[in-house]
């Protein structure tokens, strides 16, 4: 059972639809007890970083932390990726999960913000989440803040400046783009997540 966390922000319909399309059994919850039973956890997100306050308030943060520690595969999408970092200048004072110590920041390139549309992925070949996806494939993005490129980055996208399009560290994965809206490339990412097993 894949558990999709509903934290009262945005529209979960597309994520759920895409996961079901590739054969996943999906439950949607706001309840930490449900997370304890999850085989896999997805934290979607379109919206403001501040919305992640809900996770702490409802006890979901500690449930996610426990799940990750127990080896449950976790996928954060968009804000869900950013939340894996220490925080974001979009909502100073609201901590992320901080499994990665850096902070997310707004695009400063002078280009239009938000970054909306299909952009290409420079994929690190060792990525398991992006296995089978051709380098420079396109994915659909819509966001104003981005995570920095670090050791855990497995795909880099360029929007006047390079940023992390995907991160991966063991069972912890995140994508800045929307796999549920990125055509076959996106569905392949979700399938890889669904099939992810510990090495």
């Amino acid at each position: 059972m894949i558990v999709v966390i509903d934290y009262n922000v945005g529209n979960l319909t597309s994520v759920i639809k895409a996961l079901r399309h590739i054969g996943a059994e999906v439950a949607v919850t706001q309840n930490p007890a449900e997370l304890a039973k999850a085989d896999r956890i997805v934290l979607p997100g379109v919206g403001h970083f501040a919305a992640t306050r809900f996770l702490e308030k409802r006890g979901l943060t500690s449930a996610i932390r426990a799940g990750i520690a127990a080896g449950v595969p976790f996928l954060g999408i968009c804000v869900g990726l950013q939340w894996l970092f220490a925080g974001s200048t979009e909502a100073p004072g609201i901590p992320g999960l901080a499994v990665f110590p850096e902070c997310c920041d707004r695009f400063t390139s002078g280009k239009k913000v938000p970054h909306v549309g299909w952009n290409s992925l420079a994929i690190r070949p060792e990525s398991r989440l992006l296995a089978g996806i051709r380098n420079n494939s396109f994915a659909y993005f819509t966001h104003s803040y981005r995570a920095p490129v670090t050791d855990v980055t497995v795909a880099v996208t360029d929007y006047a400046e390079p940023f992390a399009a995907a991160v991966e560290q063991n069972n912890i994965m995140g994508v800045q783009f929307h796999p549920e809206k990125s055509g076959e490339t996106g569905l392949r990412v979700l399938r890889n997540f669904l099939e992810w097993r510990p090495c």
Binding site: N11, T13, Y140, Y159, G183
Partner: protein
């Protein structure tokens, strides 16, 4: 590199596509779900479903039609036409839309933009602007019309686009009423005036006739995306052919690997 988006528009009445898009091997061009899937397969970066149903009865069938269209679609899917309230928008999101467009209702009640954005995110709200040039005035002074282009508002497209942005719109869908239906090219001056006045992406609409028109609206019109319906019927057969031509012109586009 961020690519320029090619958006296929379906004009839907009572659950059927009523104009613009036909494929040689489909006798009945009218099923939005089938057409949306075909456009996506041909490389459309987004699908816009514009409901032009006039009747109340037809509108209740809209959600079913949106749901069926969204079902097998894994590219961004936008629905618009007659959305008046945040609750109506919520029902459309629930049926599978990723974004909605608001037009007349947003002009009458601009707070609608923020209301939808607060629940679904700014990226989900596209403000559609129908504009007509004023004789002997600059493109920046083009006037906004509502109610399907029947009613003048006295407001300039540039000024309204800026207000829409400040109220939390995620994108602007700008239709040139002068160019619409002519297939003689987009209004590049109008598009550039609006695109340079806001930070959010601007989708150009109205006037697409050939690939060159798209190149012009991306280069001269500073458009971030371009929308068309009838071009996929008249002249250019599908999105893939169009994108291949744009790539030869040096426009960055997403071509399927």
């Amino acid at each position: 590199m961020l690519t320029k988006r090619i958006i296929a528009c379906l004009d839907v009445r009572d659950g059927r596509v009523v104009k613009g898009i036909q494929f040689v091997d489909i006798v009945d061009a009218g099923d939005p779900a089938e057409l949306a899937a075909r456009h996506a397969a041909a490389g459309a970066d987004e699908i816009v479903f514009l409901d032009i149903t006039a009747t109340h009865e037809g509108r209740s069938a809209l959600l079913d039609s949106v749901r069926r269209t969204a079902c097998q679609l894994f590219v961004p899917f936008t629905v618009g036409g007659g959305i008046r309230t945040a609750d109506e928008a919520a029902a459309i999101f629930d049926a599978g839309a990723d974004k909605v467009t608001v037009n007349s209702a947003a002009l009458a009640h601009p707070e609608l933009i923020g209301e939808i954005g607060a629940k679904f995110g700014a990226q989900a709200v596209i403000v559609a602007i129908d504009a007509r040039r004023v004789p002997n005035r600059s493109a920046a002074e083009a006037e906004v019309f509502v109610s399907g282009g029947r009613k003048a508002t006295g407001r300039s497209a540039v000024e309204w686009a800026q207000e829409a942005e400040s109220r939390g719109a995620g994108e602007i869908l700008l239709t040139s009423m002068d160019a619409d239906g002519t297939r003689a090219g987009f209004d590049c001056d109008l598009t550039a005036a609006v695109s340079q006045a806001v930070q959010i992406p601007v989708i150009a609409s109205g006037g697409a006739g050939n690939a060159q028109h798209f190149t012009q609206v991306f280069r001269e019109g500073k458009a971030d995306a371009a929308l068309a319906a009838s071009i996929f019927h008249f002249g250019i057969h599908d999105v893939r052919t169009l994108k291949e031509e744009l790539q030869r012109d040096g426009i960055p586009v997403r071509l399927a690997c």
